[in-house]
């Protein structure tokens, strides 16, 4: 069974933000909600690396574990999704998430949170695949159409990989072997409790 993962090859990432705007475009994500972002470590110094980060769809996802209303679920492809109908916007998933993935629209007064929004791995939500309701709440469901997340598909340098974890790990491993360097499968240890040995 496929186990979907993301992998950002930081030795390819150039912080072009294609993944960010592709996500906005595909799901019409509103201003202020950043399902995906690119962070640059050691900015301006030799050794600087940029990494594109979104929900990593963790194994044993912390967000799901701490959710007071248990609104998360994991699909057969191991994609971690949630129900906006159930979410109460408490922010606990944000405290638990190692990757800062959950986003909350600001609603009403004093910074109170609306229903959480996050990367869906372009797999929609609990509603019927490809339905209007699903699109409005969660965005497009590319996985159901046999496509992968648009962020990875449009990545300018093929840095961001998405797909079956074993395959993308293999691709990364081959790359590192071929070129002789690799700064690591960022987030894999934290998300999947595994690393890619090269």
């Amino acid at each position: 069974m496929a186990r979907m993962k993301f992998l950002c090859d930081a030795d390819r990432c150039i912080e072009c933000n294609a993944c960010v705007t592709a996500c906005k475009n595909e799901h019409e994500v509103p201003w202020g909600i950043n399902r995906r972002r690119v962070v640059t470590i050691n900015d301006g110094k030799p050794g600087e690396r940029s990494i594109s980060m979104a929900c990593m769809h963790c194994t044993d996802a912390p967000c799901a574990a701490v959710c007071p209303v248990n609104c998360f679920y994991t699909t057969a492809d191991a994609v971690v999704l949630h129900s906006k109908d159930l979410c109460i916007g408490c922010g606990y998933c944000f405290y638990a998430c190692p990757f800062g993935a959950p986003q909350y629209p600001k609603v009403g007064n004093f910074g109170s949170r609306g229903k959480m929004d996050k990367c869906t791995y372009c797999a929609g939500g609990p509603e019927a695949d490809g339905s209007k309701e699903e699109y409005e709440k969660y965005g497009a469901n590319r996985l159901a159409e046999g496509k992968l997340p648009l962020c990875a598909e449009m990545c300018s340098t093929k840095s961001l990989l998405a797909g079956d974890g074993e395959i993308i790990a293999q691709i990364y491993k081959e790359r590192v072997m071929k070129r002789g360097y690799g700064s690591g499968a960022w987030g894999w240890k934290t998300a999947y409790r595994e690393t890619i040995e090269s």
Binding site: D43, E48, S50, S83, A128, G130, G180
Partner: protein, 980 residues
């Protein structure tokens, strides 16, 4: 645990959903993934790195929301890489973007801009209808009214001040067809004051490179960089300016274990991936290159055979290089000799090596000399005309190469024919109009053959005393179609120009800073804004940096009242009374000239540049068959019925008529291939031989033709001049011309048909015969290290006009004041005054500028796109932590930046970073809509203001113009920064 709900509450389309779920939701999807794994493995076995995420939607099973959508392909409008944009259109609405897997150029990828272009068309903030400034208020008018009033005013200006008093500023955003018609409009109006963005990005490249070896364009391609063993990037930051190109650069770096050398004042996002990063002082490119050449010559790393066979003027360069030993190079550039030696060694010995540049080299007063020095370095090491080598010049806009080629320029008619009488006669034959009619449109034959005013100086052409502008009168009206004003230097002075104009017409999808600044300048009337469609709402061909032409389909119809560029041009021509003449050979329907027909006219006249073979039919076939082209060689299999043997996009030169089926030329000057396979030689464009003066006072004649070098399969196995009927006769090949061809040739010059050349022969016969003998129509010459005729035939280091190193000005001064392009260039006086006034003490920081990945050009379009605007919400200046500490400037805090001229000042945020070295500050140039701390949001027509506004970098930039092209100098000046 939750599970997916059943879809009982959506009975309406339940069946669709279920059938979809049945097909795509279950096992099929996972088998897809397994497939992608296999594909990955296969690619790896071939030695190419697997592309990773790719899982092609082979079955293209669209979801219910996209069911029934049609797919249309166009080209991204945001840089010169030429990424295909795949649009899903439903009921006339662009509803989604899909990866363009089939394009050999972008292979599915985009950058932030490309991945968000859908919003450009949708934008709520687009101009909706024509507007006019009435008593300081933007007022809606109809197209008819606008065109009539504009036309009447233009005629009035023409009667009073002559045709040269109207400045026609076109755009690299237009298609080839649009840019070509815009140039033609200028010609029929009677002026050479027609320009576009190439002036401010690569005019120096075009001039410098063409003067070296024939054509001023990228010699190889983005894809071909994969073959390089050494990539040197000097004056470019493609990771931000051309992000998708990095796919080729970085994969090349990995697969070839290539040296990836970035020489730049900033540790850019590109430099972060370098294997060697060299920090240099801004404005010292020539010393850097000579410094490299010094080591190359010292160690005998030069390619002696290549130089002997294919290069002219090597000894002159040797003498200049001797002046640049490592100590002097380090004194001027700051680069230690050992490091430069290492770089030089890699460049010269780990071949093929390519030199990549963009505006870091070009946007200087020494821009032309910079790119010349780069070409010389390539020639010295034999790194031209080969796969993996070459001058990979990354152009800026999506069609800046094309717009340059089609002559939307002040120095030439389309396709580099120049402005001489012969050129005008050639084009009058192509256009089938009387040469005398064209001449009558101009003030004089003399001004008809005189280069126009560069756009960098349009405002001086308005405000300088009349006697300093060498035409009948000052510029009184500016018609700008698709060009930002904030990408032009010296904004404070441009306000005077804006105020003094009698008429300003802005034709653009957005009002741009032309509108907001003209209101700020105090204008109350005489400004029109015409809504023009984006290229996604039009069709036509555009040329990527690698000279490939790509045909874009119309994705959706122009929104609101927007009009296609071509229609606007036609309406103007009609109003001005020469549409019948101008569109004699072009089909026009409902005021819209047919793009295909315009391209056919270009095909008929563009022999000089080899745009003659790219018929609309061939280009469309390429778009349709994208998947068939190999990613590395960019060639389709020879046996393909539609595109067999072609290189993708028929990169020019694509010789002969379309019927000749020339495949295009992926690498210029490549002697390893037959010319009919894309081979070529250096173009002998500057004579066959040159008389050189010797030290003893005598002279000798030196041949400028190649010596023992020729392209594969050449019928002449040595250098040869360009083909004319006379030379065909000499070779005895003239008998191969058909009667029809001879008839055309005879008609071109009835008095002396022998002089008709490959470039003027409208029959294409001379080209056809030359090709049949494996010969390049333009001849086989030597590349010029000594480009006699240029202001600096041998590149010479000259300090920037505003330099912090006043100690070097005496030894390396800028060129003396002179009259260029109808106006005085007083750079020398300005530099002298700056030194005398101690400007460098007052403004101790070097100020440079450049691109951000999220925005493009003047940025109005991209700053209006919320998906992009969200990512860069504030104008900023990068400052080194040491400089920031000295000034009490905090990261993210507000600062005032002050400039060396006009008491200019600008308020922005500080970005304290080690990207810039100490003493250097850097600003992005895309912002606009603020001036000297004032927010000009209210100056835009209501609802059309971009989301993000900010100070323009060019508020601070200063005087400085390249003598050969009028290029501005925004890459190096001086400033001071103070915390607010």
């Amino acid at each position: 645990m939750l599970i997916k709900r059943t879809h009982q509450h959506s009975p309406g389309h339940g069946s669709v959903v279920e059938s979809l779920a049945g097909q795509a939701g279950g096992l099929d999807r996972r088998s897809f993934l397994r497939k992608s794994g296999l594909a990955g493995g296969a690619l790896a076995a071939l030695g190419a790195l697997p592309v990773g995420s790719v899982r092609k939607a082979e079955a293209a099973m669209a979801g219910p929301l996209t069911a029934g959508a049609t797919i249309r392909k166009n080209i991204c409008t945001h840089c010169s890489v030429g990424c295909t944009v795949t649009a899903e259109v439903l009921n006339g609405v662009w509803i989604g973007q899909e990866p363009s897997w089939d394009s050999p150029i972008n292979r599915g990828s985009h950058c932030a801009k490309g991945a968000s272009v859908r919003e450009l068309v949708h934008s709520e903030r687009r101009l909706r209808y024509p507007m006019k400034l009435v008593n300081g208020q933007w007022t809606r008018v109809s197209w008819d009214t606008a065109i009539n009033e504009i036309g009447d005013k233009l005629q009035a200006v023409r009667e009073k001040s002559g045709p040269d008093s109207v400045y026609w500023l076109g755009s690299a955003k237009m298609t080839n067809e649009g840019a070509y018609l815009f140039r033609k409009l200028g010609a029929f109006w009677g002026t050479n004051n027609t320009d576009h963005q190439a002036r401010i990005c690569h005019s120096t490249t075009v001039t410098g490179v063409a003067n070296t070896w024939g054509y001023g364009a990228m010699t190889n391609s983005y894809n071909d960089i994969r073959n390089a063993k050494t990539q040197v990037i000097l004056g470019g930051n493609p990771a931000e300016a051309h992000p998708v190109s990095l796919q080729h650069l970085l994969e090349g770096k990995e697969l070839q274990k290539a040296n990836f050398i970035v020489i730049d004042p900033r540790l850019t996002r590109t430099a972060a991936h370098a294997t060697e990063y060299v920090r240099m002082r801004p404005g010292t490119d020539i010393p850097v290159l000579y410094g490299m050449m010094w080591h190359i010559l010292q160690n005998g790393w030069e390619d002696k055979e290549f130089i002997q066979q294919r290069v002219y003027g090597f000894d002159d360069i040797k003498k200049e290089v001797e002046k640049w030993p490592p100590e002097e190079v380090e004194r001027v550039t700051g680069i230690p000799g050992e490091q430069l030696k290492r770089v030089a060694k890699m460049f010269a010995t780990e071949k093929p090596a390519t030199l990549i540049w963009a505006m870091g080299q070009t946007q200087k007063t020494v821009g032309t000399a910079n790119v010349r020095a780069s070409c010389i370095a390539l020639l010295m090491t034999g790194n031209v005309g080969k796969a993996g080598a070459g001058a990979n010049i990354f152009r800026g806009h999506d069609n800046v190469q094309g717009a340059t080629d089609v002559g939307l320029d002040i120095v030439t008619l389309p396709f580099y024919y120049g402005l001489a009488e012969g050129a005008w006669k050639h084009w009058s034959r192509v256009w089938e109009v009387d040469y005398d009619f064209l001449k009558s449109r101009f003030d004089s034959k003399q001004i008809m053959e005189t280069p126009g005013i560069p756009l960098t100086r349009w405002f001086e052409a308005v405000t300088l005393p009349k006697d300093q502008v060498a035409q009948k009168d000052n510029v009184k009206a500016v018609f700008v179609q698709g060009h930002a004003s904030n990408s032009i230097t010296r904004i404070p002075e441009s306000l005077n120009g804006l105020k003094a104009l009698e008429l300003l017409v802005i034709a653009d999808p957005h009002p741009t800073t032309w509108a907001s600044l003209s209101v700020e300048a105090g204008r109350k009337d005489g400004v029109y804004i015409l809504p023009v469609a984006t290229q996604f709402e039009c069709k036509g061909s555009r040329v990527a940096s690698n000279r490939s032409l790509q045909w874009g389909e119309q994705i959706v119809k122009p929104i609101f009242e927007s009009k296609d560029d071509l229609e606007v041009i036609y309406l103007m021509a009609k109003k001005l009374g020469f549409a019948d003449q101008m569109f004699k050979k072009i089909k026009v329907e409902n005021n819209l000239p047919e793009a295909e027909d315009v391209l056919r006219e270009m095909n008929r006249g563009s022999w000089s540049t080899g745009y003659c073979g790219q018929s609309p039919e061939r280009l469309k076939a390429h778009m349709k068959n994208q998947a068939k082209f190999d990613m590395l060689s960019m060639r389709a299999p020879k046996d393909d019925p539609e595109v067999g043997g072609d290189y993708y996009g028929l990169p020019w030169p694509c010789w002969g008529s379309p019927e000749v089926k020339h495949p295009g030329t992926p690498l210029l000057y490549n002697t390893n291939l037959n010319v009919m396979d894309g081979g070529g030689t250096f173009r002998p464009r500057f004579g066959v031989e040159r008389e050189e003066k010797l030290p003893d006072g005598t002279t000798r004649k030196v041949s400028l033709l190649a010596d023992g070098s020729y392209s594969l399969g050449s019928g002449i196995q040595d250098g040869y001049p360009e083909f004319t009927l006379a030379s065909l006769k000499k070779l005895g090949w003239d008998s191969e011309l058909t009667e029809a061809e001879m008839a055309v040739i005879n008609k071109i010059n009835p008095a002396n048909p022998d002089t008709v050349s490959w470039a003027l022969d409208l029959s294409g016969g001379i080209q056809r015969v030359a090709l049949a003998h494996g010969c390049v129509p333009y001849g086989n010459g030597k590349a010029r290290m000594n480009a006699f005729g240029l202001p600096d035939p041998i590149p010479v280091h000259r300090e920037p006009i505003y330099t912090p190193r006043v100690d070097l000005v005496a030894k390396y001064p800028t060129l003396p004041d002179a009259k260029q392009f109808r106006m005085p260039n007083i750079g020398f006086s300005v530099q002298k005054a700056a030194v005398e006034k101690g400007i460098a003490k007052q403004f101790p920081l070097i100020l440079s500028s450049g691109r951000l990945v999220e925005y493009e050009g003047g940025g109005e379009e991209t700053r209006t796109n919320p998906w992009l605007a969200e990512l860069q919400q504030d104008m900023f200046i990068e400052i080194n932590p040491a400089d920031a500490a000295e000034r009490g400037v905090k990261d993210g805090g507000w600062v005032w930046v002050t400039g060396a001229e006009n008491n200019s000042r600008a308020k922005m945020k500080a970005l304290v970073t080690e990207r810039v070295g100490k003493g250097v500050a850097w600003m992005p140039f895309h912002f606009g809509g603020w001036l000297a701390g004032k927010d000009l949001r209210g100056n835009y027509p209501k609802g059309t203001d971009p989301i993000v506004l900010g100070e323009s970098a060019n508020t601070i930039t200063t005087y400085g113009y390249d003598p050969a092209t009028g290029m501005q100098e925004p890459k190096v000046t001086l400033c001071q920064i103070a915390a607010v």
